[in-house]
Symmetry: D2
Amino acid sequence: MGVKTFDEYYDRLKKLRRNMYMGGEKIDRTDERIAGQLRVIKETYDRANDPEWEDLCTATSHLTGEKINRFTHIHQSVDDLLKKQQMTRLLCHRVGGCIMRCMGIDAMNALSVVTYEMDQLLGTETNQHFLKYLRYWQENDICANCAQTDTKGDRIQRPHEQADPDLYLRIIESRSDGIVVRGAKIDNTTAPVSDEIIAIPTRFMTEKDHDYAVAFAVPSDWEGVKMLVRPAYQHKRKYLEAPIAEVGDAESFTIFDDVFVPRERVFLDGKADPRQTPFAGFLALLFAHYHRHSYTGCKPAISEVLASSAALVSEYSGIEREDHVRDKLSHLIGTAELVFAAGQMSAYRGERSASGTYIPDEILTNAGRRLAGEEIYNEYKVVADLAGGLCSTMPFEEEFFSEETGALANKYLMRNPKVSSEDQHRCFRGIENMIVSELAGVTQVAGLHGGGSPQMETITMMSRYDLEGLKSIAKYLFGIKGELPRYERPTVTPKKMLEKFRNLMKGK
Amino acid sequence: MGVKTFDEYYDRLKKLRRNMYMGGEKIDRTDERIAGQLRVIKETYDRANDPEWEDLCTATSHLTGEKINRFTHIHQSVDDLLKKQQMTRLLCHRVGGCIMRCMGIDAMNALSVVTYEMDQLLGTETNQHFLKYLRYWQENDICANCAQTDTKGDRIQRPHEQADPDLYLRIIESRSDGIVVRGAKIDNTTAPVSDEIIAIPTRFMTEKDHDYAVAFAVPSDWEGVKMLVRPAYQHKRKYLEAPIAEVGDAESFTIFDDVFVPRERVFLDGKADPRQTPFAGFLALLFAHYHRHSYTGCKPAISEVLASSAALVSEYSGIEREDHVRDKLSHLIGTAELVFAAGQMSAYRGERSASGTYIPDEILTNAGRRLAGEEIYNEYKVVADLAGGLCSTMPFEEEFFSEETGALANKYLMRNPKVSSEDQHRCFRGIENMIVSELAGVTQVAGLHGGGSPQMETITMMSRYDLEGLKSIAKYLFGIKGELPRYERPTVTPKKMLEKFRNLMKGK
Amino acid sequence: MGVKTFDEYYDRLKKLRRNMYMGGEKIDRTDERIAGQLRVIKETYDRANDPEWEDLCTATSHLTGEKINRFTHIHQSVDDLLKKQQMTRLLCHRVGGCIMRCMGIDAMNALSVVTYEMDQLLGTETNQHFLKYLRYWQENDICANCAQTDTKGDRIQRPHEQADPDLYLRIIESRSDGIVVRGAKIDNTTAPVSDEIIAIPTRFMTEKDHDYAVAFAVPSDWEGVKMLVRPAYQHKRKYLEAPIAEVGDAESFTIFDDVFVPRERVFLDGKADPRQTPFAGFLALLFAHYHRHSYTGCKPAISEVLASSAALVSEYSGIEREDHVRDKLSHLIGTAELVFAAGQMSAYRGERSASGTYIPDEILTNAGRRLAGEEIYNEYKVVADLAGGLCSTMPFEEEFFSEETGALANKYLMRNPKVSSEDQHRCFRGIENMIVSELAGVTQVAGLHGGGSPQMETITMMSRYDLEGLKSIAKYLFGIKGELPRYERPTVTPKKMLEKFRNLMKGK
Amino acid sequence: MGVKTFDEYYDRLKKLRRNMYMGGEKIDRTDERIAGQLRVIKETYDRANDPEWEDLCTATSHLTGEKINRFTHIHQSVDDLLKKQQMTRLLCHRVGGCIMRCMGIDAMNALSVVTYEMDQLLGTETNQHFLKYLRYWQENDICANCAQTDTKGDRIQRPHEQADPDLYLRIIESRSDGIVVRGAKIDNTTAPVSDEIIAIPTRFMTEKDHDYAVAFAVPSDWEGVKMLVRPAYQHKRKYLEAPIAEVGDAESFTIFDDVFVPRERVFLDGKADPRQTPFAGFLALLFAHYHRHSYTGCKPAISEVLASSAALVSEYSGIEREDHVRDKLSHLIGTAELVFAAGQMSAYRGERSASGTYIPDEILTNAGRRLAGEEIYNEYKVVADLAGGLCSTMPFEEEFFSEETGALANKYLMRNPKVSSEDQHRCFRGIENMIVSELAGVTQVAGLHGGGSPQMETITMMSRYDLEGLKSIAKYLFGIKGELPRYERPTVTPKKMLEKFRNLMKGK
């Protein structure tokens, strides 16, 4: 059966080799500092096993016809894209932030397309390897990280130009049974609790960068893989239990210290076969695309979580009816709605690739993700604005429960007399977690950069957008050119994007 | 047959009584100062008669099964909503701005729902009158204005509290064969070239405002109707013909100077039947809703027209590849995409009302329209930024064609050497029309206020949005309340909105 | 001598009674969790004793003619206002954020004006008490907190309307030798390391709120004063020492548990003398005004600290010359310049009050402070944008120094090859402290709310601004009124503000 | 005497040769289409002759000690800079926009510095020519245009690289008695009503661009000078006279058709003396700097004019007390205050150059001008928002005065019952002029581009700002470098800027 329980998954994790480092020590997957991240991932297993969520959180494998966790599914229809987005959004509500399991499946969807296209164009057999690996995923309900971001060294140099050739992950040896890779990947959210690490390129590679055109998957405790793990801090609660206080983030700076990868787990190898090099950029972009589409699910949820908190604290403070409060709330809500709608319409405009995998629309996905990224800091500002200073100055929990100060602290916390002091406390404590904790700082940065910063979305949009088509409107209106063709939408659709890539490849 | 030609329509207009005033004189519909508006409306007839546009610009009447102009169609499906939006967008590209014919059909759609609901709840027979009137519309391909905005007097007083009771349009007499109305409606775009004027309320009416709960339709030259017409100015072209230079706007300040309306053309009469009064606000909002949904079609088009001009002038000036230029263009494009997607998703989430008419989603429609309104001035700024000062300082056309200065003027206009001097001239002349003419000022104001200003969309959004549902997220995360119900979307859907209104009515 | 050393001050603190609570325990002023705040305050003593800073950080007492710390000085000239602002800015650079000692002296300046005006108008002798207290301050180089913000309960109720009458600090007994007060003040930055607490009202008080019109000063360990202390967290450094890692914040939720205040330390007593009640609002606003003027010093510094970090990390990543990087940096710099200029011009427009104390211009101070508050979250966004994700995902310090992972971690951190790995590490570690630590969250909230949120500055601006004067421009231009008087500036100057208050008082 | 009357000035204009072209015809300076611009200039003569304005609008010549119009004065002190800025602001209030006479005097101030520095460095005698020309200016109260913007052809090519070498103004012959120039300058506001045209370079010139390093002055009707004139349109008023309706703009596209300039009117000649070429860029920047400082006077005025209109129409519509109205007004006011303060502080930080002329601070001037430019379109949005749609749809004036419709039109225009219908009419008519006329479009573009667009101010700021100094803060805080020097302000002051240029020149 393709849907596992959290316990089954956690049992696997416990058995993994100790290859994680934190604070100068080797730790294993039961270290309490990564428990917050496990709490998040737990939601993805629990809901898939929950009859009320089954329709959203499970899917039917196109390989086996069996029921699987949607986080291991390859999109076979527009409906799959819509459900992926909605699942992401609803699960994020439940953990008050990132659901942390998208990366893996977004990488798998990208690989399903790219390996297929590569086989068609080059006659390779990578898609077979991939499908075998996918079957393993679906049967075991695998949780994975996608390690994309290289450390990149000097940003104005290409991989092969760096002072140290290892600053981008590279193949140092390619042989028939597999490859040996060296380098590091950073910003690897979820890696500390993942079964598998999928590594893919971070950018286009030129003809001098063949060694850097590499993609593969390895178990997260594989020989040579070293994870430097960084958790995000929140104050431990002693009295007031709450979901918001239990979740956490953990990141990995993952070093591939001369790691051997067996051939059947290699999905791109520009060193052995330089014809594969152009697929590096194609894979990089397609993963980014699926991941940005996931952001059109999670970011509206985060906007809604923030709006929800802002609305609640406004009620508790008695200012809910003020004009400026409603203006600010409606701004958060409007952003959530627009970003989610962008993702939904990207799904509706999605098209089937030759591999059978559906690809959402790029322009809209990027426009939606960009708006979310542009707004993230402003959204925190709105919550801070409506919550007032107390969320950043409130005494610790213990002061509200100690004999000496508890009664006084609770007395003076009261606002709306209809709300109990404890609920007021819970509200401000929750907002403290949400906007002034270390985790808040991480969520802000992730909201800006995750899946690519607004700068990257602009670049992607402008590289896809049919600017000449657009100009035809002005040329017609200004009398520079004759008739204006019926101009449906000046966009390179998913199919055209694939075709363009194919032509590019054939042209070589 | 329900699709007429422009000439058939124009012949009707020519026969209308002279009841329009401009510059102190009575004018008729052939006055050259409103020719620009006719040029716009012409597009809606020509395209409906153009085989290449037929699928978009015509529809099948649900009354007769005959082919009709889509501008006379009542939405019978999600697809109708999508097509209306797309038609609006594509036609706006062709006229470089507002297509000016939405108002009438948006009012008709609102009436189709409200009269039906009213009949169901009150046992009236208004919908029969409406359907008969609709049939006349469809058969004759009627062009109409919707006169909604009252002059409103002192904005903090309700209609019946005004110093002058006529500052909102009101029924001064209601008798069996019809009503007599007095008052004025302003901002009546298209009225100068309309066959018909449809008057509807501008706001909710209280129990003291029964006389103001009024809706009806009259021919635009009806006895007692006086239109004070204001066209928007553009410099006449002598040499460089271009669509942008031919279009124009004309507005009417429409006075109902004790006008008798026959009963079969009355759609709301709170004076005779005070039970109808609550339907005033319902109708006001529903028209605004359809009209804002139309804006999710036209506003993206205007953003695209502006982006198109900005892209073209950037190419001509040789700065197209500059980072800041691409950033700015992508901002315009992103806005267009997001607003259009909001409208499309509003259509996909649309629901069938009891009358059979489809209603799009309110939250998204308002979020989209609001973003468009918030951005309009900024979009002009981007065009001005990329065009540079010349668009506002360029000599008149004649200087480029006169013997004495023509050669010099053309010599010094040259930028990109691959583009002819005449095309450079056409480009800057077009941008002059677009951003520094009087028409530009009108388009800016219309882009902000048309269909309701951002302020109004915020109010509508917040009155529909399920804020308590939203708060349940924070309550769950903060440990204030137990389980979080699967929270699909905290919105009052179209059906729930109708239900709410019905319950409100029944509660009385 | 009026300038003390840090050690002299710290010796005083050590002797204070244990009346602070943290994590359920009583703590004293040597608790290491408040050491970060002491580190900040230390700067204010060290620089006053540093010959290179003497001109800026010391002043001459107008009471004694002796040299004193500028943080105990009452502004006697425009130059004093300018120096206060510049001192604040330069010291904030050195601690990477809030210098934390403004509040006390801002309250003292407000009291110097208000007690004098009160004496003049009511014949009281409060200013004498104040001057005696000031002398004590100046002689001992006192560090103080100003406790202004009441807990405020239900925000739509006035103090006397609250369900619990103690939700605003109030006088429960007034007798000849002093008063007894009950209530709490929140958001009391610096209180944990202050010698003295100065309490002042948070808003205007009506005739039913006499008991709440209260201002006084007490030693911070005074009988009945209980401080619930909350420090802001930063990861302790083990290897890379840096000023940024040593500073910290600590806030107090200060409870006045029936505290007796001797008469000579009481500066406002509406209970005994209801004529004093209107001075509550006057004092509240005047403190806010001085404090906002201090913000025109500290906020530009924070913008510059953020800009500085953003510029440094851009250099290290090799992107310093990119257009978008320079655009973003220049935005931060521009904000800093405009806010600082607003404060400087407020000083230049400052006027001498009858008490001899100088008051800066209100409109400009508020316009400057507001811009700073509106921009604060956006400024963090820029730093995050240019720093990239690593600042939020970087492994702990130990991983860079351990035998097993140190070499690898340092190898992969390299960017600009001219910068050592350690400096790259220091840079990202510093930015981590600056934008993803708990302290960062507190600084964001403080940057928005400290001294009053943008909403409050708008209210203050609009209550002072001469709107009728402003309208005279349009009236002239539109031909509604004749000649336009030479219209220097439509503002209530400091002197006019005082005069207005005096007239208001006399009118009673 | 150095202060002339408007009539004296106008008499001169009338005598000028007919060298202006409009609509295919030669026109002279009495053409009614440029009367609006004359109306603006009139203000600068009238106020200088008005005893109440004398202190601001006149100055004492440092050449002759006589009283002169401040528009012909070279800044000899900080006070002169402050008065120039304030004069500009107050006069702009009176004409509802640009006062149009700054350009000339801003160019003269720049020339006073640059010719002096050039003489010092190169031993030329240009400053003597300049001073003689200045004396002529001051004695005759000369009104001049500064023609800076070349047509520029392809923007990515330098002057000598253009397909047509005339696309930047150039010297085609340099001989002992003078030079012959060919080319064109655009965006020449005020040129149609100027006595003199001063031409200066638009950018830095390289060693291949010697012929383009040229500056000179000629009478505006000089042989070979041809002006293609474009006025901005406003509807003529018949009934409601008002200053707003009388003002207008006129621009010139000025062609130098092989114009001989006598040597004593030549201020820069890179063709004859290539050592002068680097002064081209110096002069271009210094003029821009003075002109941007003028913008810190006019742009606050325009913000205030818009705010004034918005406040007035809000009062007339009865919404003045609404929260959102006050928010929006305060935003306009705040921008005006901040920009004006930036200019004032630039003056206070101004420094005396070796020539005796004062130069304001560059960073602040640019930061202020940039904010103004960024906000201009948004400010129009606020006025449109508060005025509502009527300002763009209101019937023509005649409809309010005709027998047939006047009473009705006036009846329905009523809002606030305390305000007469005529004043309501005047208010909306004025706002129509202000935001939907062709002149409004021109003012928008000018507000963005005049003196250089925000993009240009960013470039100037970043080229002056001491970024390495700024980074020292982060280096200190992060422990990368030791002590932080007392860091007053990381700016290249005016004196340092001059020194830098001198060193650059000497280095050659």
